[in-house]
């Protein structure tokens, strides 16, 4: 019997509807009249196969069948689901967060690492990474890439200098970047490596900016908007706002002709005004950045109203930014998945089984969100036998895709979600674990999918008008 797939979802577009299979990921747009005819046919006794479809909707039936929205047998859905699950990648280390320092010169109020929390902050390592540990960390990362069996020609490993504030240990940062460059020609597995840094920017000066540029380390500066109010959560350890200082750094980079990207956390103030970010981007010629939806902590849970507003803000900004050709990571990663109709298994390199985090003392973990208590820090750069992709903890994290969550099966955004952050999921409720759902992300994924489907519909209509 022909029936609608359990993975199918209907979107009301006024005069028309869109039908969409959450794993096949190709929306089919029908007139309401055709949709009603389809429903009437499916309710009739003459729908055992597509061949019995009425002539008036035969084309529509074919299209819906092609994109799995309609099925002709009971096991079709199961086969489709198992096919997609078979594509979940195996763990393969490709990303290294090099924590050159756990110390930070700021005290941002939303810090997901816990720098704003006195109890957590005192657990951060005081000592910065040494050159000896950095050497071992580089060797360790290279070995993990080799153990992962990736194609060296195609693969692009990424090394991210992180913290705390990574520039609190600039000498070692520079040392590591220099060494990586010297090794690129000798170690094929890092021939295509990219290096980047997320910094609050306060410790950048002209010399360092130029040097980092020479070394090929791309710079992402954290800033939450173009006003004092939007940046009111970015304060130093004395509680003083640092917005003006950040602008000075951006001015300097602009003057030196060095492109930087921005890391923008969506504070409640930031999302009140969409033009603020556009002004920032236009003033400094920013070509790329990423938005971050704030995360809850174990002591404070953000309201759902914030999650809704942040999700809508992302979409509204995306509409403006794409006109300017500006890449914004949060939306673009989902757009790629949607346009290629490829399931996006993980929104995080940790849940893709793809990253290692090296603490300043050489401890190796899975997620930098656990730096304060070193939970899931299960290895060490001094352990020559440790293989991340064979470690049970890494394997457990690598399976945290929504495809493995029963609660996610009925979600329209199953194919583009990626699952969000397990640490945030853990913090949402007392008994939650890393296997729980990051509900903050559900809103973002669903709203984004709805937007893509509606926007594609708008584009199709416009295209019809001109033909």
């Amino acid at each position: 019997m022909v029936s609608i797939s359990r993975f199918s979802h209907t979107f009301d577009l006024g005069n028309d509807v869109a039908l969409y299979h959450s794993l096949r990921m190709k929306p089919v747009y029908l007139s309401k009249e055709s949709f009603q005819s389809l429903q009437a046919w499916l309710a009739s006794s003459f729908c055992s196969s597509f061949d019995e479809a009425p002539d008036s909707i035969r084309n529509e039936i074919e299209e819906l069948g092609k994109y799995k929205i309609l099925t002709q047998s009971k096991d079709e859905d199961d086969r489709a689901f198992h096919y997609v699950k078979s594509k979940i990648p195996q763990p393969a280390i490709n990303v290294c967060y090099m924590i050159t320092s756990e110390q930070c010169n700021l005290n941002c109020k939303y810090c997901f690492l816990g720098n704003n929390d006195h109890d957590k902050r005192k657990k951060f390592l005081l000592e910065n990474m040494t050159v000896e540990t950095a050497d071992k960390a580089i060797d360790f990362f290279i070995r993990q890439i080799k153990e992962s069996g990736l194609d060296y020609e195609e693969n692009k490993p990424v090394l991210i200098f992180y913290g705390g504030e990574p520039l609190m240990n600039y000498p070692v940062l520079e040392y590591v970047a220099n060494k990586i460059i010297s090794l690129k020609s000798k170690e094929r597995c890092i021939a295509n490596i990219e290096m980047s840094m997320v910094t609050n920017g306060l410790l950048l000066n002209e010399e360092r900016i130029k040097r980092l540029h020479e070394l090929g380390v791309t710079i992402a500066i954290s800033i939450d908007g173009f006003t004092e109010e939007a940046n009111s959560m970015r304060v130093d350890i004395n509680g003083k706002p640092v917005f003006t200082h950040i602008l000075n750094t951006l001015d300097l980079c602009k003057r030196l002709g060095i492109d930087v990207s921005l890391s923008v956390t969506l504070s409640e103030e930031t999302i009140k005004n969409t033009s603020d970010i556009i002004n920032l981007v236009d003033t400094y010629g920013i070509k790329g950045f990423g938005f971050n939806i704030m995360m809850s902590s174990d002591t404070f849970v953000l309201p759902q109203s914030y999650n809704e507003a942040a999700a809508q803000f992302l979409i509204d900004e995306f509409v403006e930014l794409r006109k300017r050709g500006i890449y914004e990571d949060r939306m673009m990663r989902k757009l790629k998945s949607f346009t290629k109709a490829q399931v996006y298994f993980s929104d995080c390199a940790a849940t893709a089984g793809g990253q290692i985090v090296v603490a300043p003392n050489g401890q190796v973990g899975i997620c930098h969100g656990c730096l304060h208590d070193k939970k899931y820090f299960v290895g060490s750069v001094f352990d020559d036998d440790f293989v991340a992709v064979k470690d049970p903890n890494y394997i457990e994290w690598s399976q945290l895709t929504p495809l493995n969550h029963d609660e996610c099966m009925e979600c329209s955004a199953l194919g583009i979600c990626g699952g969000g952050c397990p640490i945030n999921a853990m913090n949402l409720k007392h008994d939650n674990t890393i296997h729980s759902i990051d509900e903050r992300f559900c809103v973002h994924a669903k709203k984004t999918l709805e937007f893509f489907i509606e926007d594609l519909y708008r584009i199709i209509l416009k295209s019809r008008e001109t033909t």
Binding site: R24, V28, L30, N59, E60, E63, Y67, V95, F112, V158, I160, S196, M197, V198, T218, I219, A220, V260, L262, S263, T265, K287, G288, F289, G290, N292, L321, R322, K323, R324, G325, I326, Y327, D329, R330, M332, R333, L335, F338, T339, A341, Y344, F345, D347, C348, A349, A352, G354, Q355, G369, G418, C421, N424, F452, D455, L456, I459, I460, S463, R464
Partner: protein, 98 residues
Amino acid sequence: MTRCSAILTRLPDRLWLNALANAQVVCAAVVVLALAGLFPILNGGKYKMSANASEYMELFGSVQDGVTTTARCACVACNACTCACSCRAIPDMGDVEW
């Protein structure tokens, strides 16, 4: 003979030939337009149900391939370095092995 046919038989041959030629032109035009899909009634009113490659590309706006200035981790919370990139490759519209 009916009044109508009486009138018709009185039309000059020149007019008949013109009318016939015009009718042929009109018929040819209808066939061509129908084949070109521009005459909705004749092609069954086919609704454009799915987007094509260029329509998908329009979702990207003016964003270009491989923005190299973007740090791969422009993100405080999490990143998807292994899973995302800034490319705007045209979606593969070929058969998917399903």
